[in-house]
Symmetry: C2
Subunit: 311 residues, 2 copies
């Protein structure tokens, strides 16, 4: 099942993608159900109840017309992993603990929905706004001290994440801080794919494209820490809540394509290997595609110009 | 004006502390006003409207009976600074950027109210749960690209923070991650003191006591980055929202008191200087006092035992 949040004519709503590029507006078949995903996941067996309501029903509305919303409106925590793919560790020359997942947090306003513009800072603020294609894990059932062999039963679904990063600010200090939290600098969506439909995580492939050109491609079996290990570690100290999101870290960059000359202004990088890394610019289109989920696509728009904006 | 969030007989409410250890329940004098602080701050001139409503009115209820709530219910972001006091930099031997404030984030559930128990992890999880007395800054008016000379006009009030930290987890990786985000490991409150009443920030003194013994004492003029500088920096990339909180970093430790022998089991520290640092234990009482604000006090209770808790 593919579940998403979208803006219907009468407000936020939940949709379930069906066959033939059509979807079911959940509020039309279950008018008493919550109209956003966090309260839906907070209901006991929320996902199972949605599945039961839509079982056997055909999609009625065209997906092409949908205005997507970020899957979770204000998660208690949006966690993200640094340096969790082996190739990315090599290319950056950075080190991370081999024993403990490397976690930081983002605020909800740093991430927009599928189709919405990412905000690209003006050049005097940053010239290194980078895509990071990642697998997103949305928690369905909360918990504490979750054992590895029960971890996947706490997952509501998987989604695509573009964990957009402002590298100059990320390098200001030991903690990434503001560099991972610029307004609308990243995205996630378009929908959650439930674990039963997604199947074995490591069998899937993640691809990131900038203006149609592949820049990242990996199988999801290259992670240093698996989804299950990260859930178990986090829940040692943190009580996972329905609607929490965990972005599983970004893979390495592909090398430049044969004969390709990448604009050096887009390569203010400290990579140790020759990569096709290319920072994003206003007017670009960036896509993160994960097999079994689909494509998260966003155009790049300019952020507001530098200047005092109270309010 | 001192404003706080508390639990009244009929639900969450806002109180304004008056003279003679009594307070005004805001909903009794302004029944149409929001009953929690974030929506109150989101109203145009929210603080000024509260001040106008309670002007000249005496406190009616005894403060001693109040069950405090965390000042802000679910801020969009709780930011915190690392290594922002010069003495703390020296004692840890750590380095930070001299040019950019060192920021990370906490989730709301990691912080409890004045009077509520901090959760101390069981010894097999952590033996180094440390207090960090800090000045908390609560944003009243949001904004982006806020200039330094306008920054204080965006502050609703100041409060005390105990930015409780689980050092073993904080050291797992470059980003502090889970080490700063254990459930109910820190606190803030008891109330916001408005800037007009608080006066010059640098003139105030912060003291942290563990079981009545002073462990930190500093004037607030020892900060590497001022409140105004941090607001200006953050708002380069982040749109400040009403109800956001910024914890301004913790000062250094005092040396041991004359003749004092600190339990070495409480001193699993990497400090470079001889300090009276003493990790917290279940049964302790910890206080953060800031002149012009008051005392944030919390007992230490044991966290739940390690064991799977779905839900």
């Amino acid at each position: 099942m593919k579940i998403f949040a979208y803006l219907a004519a009468d407000g936020p709503a939940i949709g379930i993608a069906g066959a033939n590029d059509r979807f079911i507006p959940l509020h039309e078949v279950a008018p008493d159900f919550p109209r956003s995903l966090k309260p839906a996941l907070e209901l006991p067996y929320g996902i199972e109840r949605i599945a039961a309501v839509v079982a056997g029903k055909p999609g009625t509305q065209p997906l092409a017309d949908v205005t997507f919303l970020p899957p979770i409106d204000a998660p208690n925590a949006f966690w993200a992993l640094a340096l969790n793919f082996k190739l990315h560790l090599e290319e950056t020359g950075l080190t991370t603990s081999p024993d403990f997942p490397h976690l930081f947090m983002r605020h909800a306003g740093s991430l927009v929905a599928h189709g919405a513009p990412l905000r690209n800072p003006p050049p005097e603020v940053s010239q290194e706004h980078d895509y990071e294609g990642e697998l997103g894990v949305v928690i369905g059932r909360g918990g504490r001290h979750i054992p590895i062999d029960r971890a996947l039963s706490h997952v509501a679904g998987f989604t695509c994440v573009n964990e957009g990063s402002i590298r100059e600010f990320q390098r200001h200090n030991r903690n990434f801080g503001l560099g991972k939290n610029f307004e609308e600098s990243g995205s996630y969506g378009p929908w959650l794919v439930t674990p039963d439909e997604f199947g074995a995580i490591g069998e899937h492939t993640l691809v990131t494209r900038l203006n149609g050109i592949e820049r990242q491609r990996t199988k999801l079996d290259d992670m240093l820490f698996t989804v299950e290990q990260v859930i178990a570690y986090l829940s040692t100290g943190y009580r996972l809540r329905p609607g929490d999101v965990i972005a599983m870290g970004t893979p390495g960059a592909l090398p430049p394509h044969p004969g390709e000359a990448i604009d050096p202004a887009r390569q203010r990088t400290r990579h140790k290997t020759n990569t096709g890394k290319s920072s994003m610019r206003t007017g670009d289109v960036v896509e993160v595609e994960i097999s079994g989920i689909g494509i998260l696509s966003n155009p790049l728009a300019g952020d507001e110009p530098v200047g005092y904006r109270p309010g």
